[in-house]
């Protein structure tokens, strides 16, 4: 169908140019000979590698072929595309080039990369890949997108300065400065102290700078084929996250952010970041909102998980013996499409999992929980850490959950698949673009779920035990835990 060539060589050429200019300023003839040889080799290698790298879309697979001596062909089924990113590193951005990165859910090859296409070509490739991934013809024009909101850079910097590692680094630094200014200690003592501190501070600061640069100019837009996230200071990254690929959503509220009512939203997506043995798929964590008010987070959540308002229940009071510190912050609940749990006293965590994405359900009862008649239930989704937990519920409730959840997850899964099909059949022009958030609710409003106030544990009445499905071969009884 279409055959394109990736502009790998240009970057190599430019890099070679810079090497040669710095080399010639050295002046030694021997050096310049080596330089020229190096540059020549780089040019030849770069051009060859650029020349032999081809990609094409053939039917419903994307094929990327590369390598002169050892041909390497990666095939990506378009139905497996999880997200298509547009990455513009600084150098490529100067030249008006971009890299298209196609994320798949594991499988052979993992990510496919089309390195360095012209920006408009890259945009077009992205749009047609996504259209084909949704089962539409590739000539579908990129659907209109509507900017949802931007994160102000000032707030971003402020929020990162208020994270725990930053505080840890800044406090001793200011202490040193203050002590020096008031003249209580001599410069020599400060030199000795700061020598040890310096490396720590440097590491923390570089991490902070990296994060600020990565999330600078954060912008979320919505299009019928998914959420578009753009961010980056020097190198811009534009990602498209198709709906229905979100495995979990997680909201963090660190202690230091709470006076400002800030929170951070993260998405867990299925994809291959690194593959290890015994770990077929890892998850990608993406900030959906690096920092924002509760109301903004609520509003964004409504776009991803329409039914994210979940009635929450608390563990029974005796669970305070098992979890004395965070008992008051444990809550969990579910509705027909997603489950939600909260935990954490210092760093409050709220996690949503769409029931249709649940990979496995686990019941766990530890030695400390058994005498108290408690048990925990977890819902795992793709990825290492993402899960919703019913920590320390009463054992009967946990058992009822184990009866009810498999069926509910299956229901949600069936509903999801029909929903995705209906979306895929709708032409892009007919998909309604929602109105932008003109009237944001005031910050601090919009209660999250219905946690009953006060310490009174509100355990929902356990439903009558569901009839167990017929077992093909029973060697255990699920009731006998």
């Amino acid at each position: 169908m279409r055959i394109g060539r990736a502009f790998l060589g240009l970057i190599v050429l430019l890099g070679a140019d810079r090497i040669s200019s710095s080399g010639s300023s050295g002046g030694h003839s021997q050096n310049s000979v080596i330089d020229i040889a190096l540059v020549g080799a780089a040019i030849v290698l770069g051009t060859v590698s650029w020349y032999v790298t081809t990609w094409r879309i053939d039917g419903d697979t994307l094929q990327v072929a590369s390598g002169l001596i050892r041909r390497n062909t990666a095939r990506v089924p378009l139905s497996r595309v999880q997200a298509v990113d547009l990455v513009e590193p600084l150098l490529a951005r100067v030249l008006g080039l971009a890299e298209v990165r196609i994320r798949t859910a594991g499988g052979s090859g993992g990510d496919a990369r089309l390195m360095y296409l012209k920006l408009e070509d890259a945009n077009w490739v992205r749009a047609s890949l996504l259209a084909m991934a949704h089962g539409l013809p590739d000539s579908t024009p990129p659907p209109p997108e509507r900017s949802l909101f931007q994160v102000s850079n000032g707030r971003l910097v402020g929020s990162i300065l208020l994270t725990a590692p930053a505080l840890v680094a800044v406090v001793p630094l200011t202490a040193v400065v203050v002590l020096f200014a008031t003249g209580t200690v001599t410069a020599a003592a400060i030199g000795a102290a700061s020598g040890t501190l310096f490396l720590d501070v440097l590491a923390v600061v570089s991490r902070m700078v990296k994060r600020v640069a990565g999330e600078w100019g954060f912008e979320v837009a919505e299009a019928p084929d998914g959420l578009r996230i753009r961010s980056g200071f020097a190198s811009r990254v534009a990602e498209t996250i198709p709906y229905g690929r979100v495995q979990a959503v997680r909201m963090e509220e660190p202690l230091w952010w709470r006076p400002f009512g800030w929170c951070r939203l993260e998405l867990h997506l299925a994809g291959s970041v690194r593959r290890e043995r015994d770990q077929p798929r890892a998850a990608i964590r993406r900030a959906l909102l690096p920092v924002g008010s509760r109301a903004e987070a609520e509003w964004l959540l409504g776009r991803i998980l329409p039914e994210h308002q979940v009635p929450l229940t608390r563990p029974p009071r005796r669970a305070a013996w098992r979890a004395p510190l965070n008992y008051h912050f444990l809550a969990a609940g579910r509705n027909q499409s997603c489950a939600l749990s909260t935990s954490g006293r210092v760093r409050r965590l709220t996690e949503w999992v769409p029931l249709g994405k649940v990979q496995s359900i686990r019941y766990e009862q530890g030695p400390l929980q058994r005498p108290l008649g408690l048990a925990s239930v977890r819902l795992d989704v793709a990825g290492r850490r993402a899960s919703v937990r019913w920590w320390n519920r009463s054992a009967t409730e946990a058992r009822d959950l184990m009866h009810a959840l498999p069926g509910e997850c299956e229901h949600a899964r069936d509903r999801d698949s029909t929903y995705i099909q209906s979306v895929a059949r709708t032409p892009a022009s007919q998909v309604a673009v929602p109105s932008p958030p003109t009237s944001m609710p005031p910050a601090g409003g919009a209660p999250l779920g219905a946690v009953p106030p006060g310490g009174q544990p509100a355990i929902s009445e356990p439903p009558p035990p569901a009839p167990r499905p017929a077992s093909a071969m029973v060697s255990i009884d699920p009731d006998q835990l």
């Binding site: 015994d278 077929p280 798929r281 496995s360 990825g383 077992s471 009884d477 699920p478």
Partner: protein, 140 residues
């Protein structure tokens, strides 16, 4: 269950190593032997309980796997979510003619493992799980 025999065997061997070191009075030796026997019986009992704690159940849409005495775990894995099924038989397992089945889903937290299956049963289960997984496969 076979692990129990291994445990007892190691304890007895340890006792055998211990004995030449002790040119102590006879009653000390007797106490040592009694202690070893008690230890072996304890191991046997624990291994038996451990063995009985393992279990699995094939339901129409999902597989239940149960394990653990101290920490009791029950894992439900829908067939549609299984990514791959591993059958392994280590050297010690092969001596006793056993195999272990491990299920992988996209979630790395899933730890569904069924140890100590006879090879025939392991093969049957593997084929059945693969077939069911294919029939009910769901995307990520």
């Amino acid at each position: 269950m076979r692990r129990a025999e291994i445990a007892i065997g190691t304890v007895v061997v340890a006792g055998g190593v211990l004995v030449p070191l002790l040119h102590a009075p006879r009653f000390v030796l007797v106490i040592c032997y009694v202690g070893l026997v008690v230890l072996g019986l304890g191991c046997e009992y624990l291994a038996g309980r451990r063995y009985r704690s393992w279990g699995y159940c094939e339901r129409s849409r999902d597989l239940l796997v149960r394990r653990g005495i101290l920490v009791r775990r029950l894992t439900v894995v829908p067939y549609g979510r299984m990514q791959l099924v591993d059958v392994t038989a280590g050297a010690a397992e092969r001596v006793f003619g056993l195999a272990t089945i491990k299920l992988h889903t996209a979630a790395s937290a899933t730890d569904a493992r069924i140890p100590g299956l006879p090879p025939d049963e392991a093969t049957r289960l593997r084929d059945q799980l693969a077939a069911l997984g294919e029939a009910q496969a769901a995307g990520v």
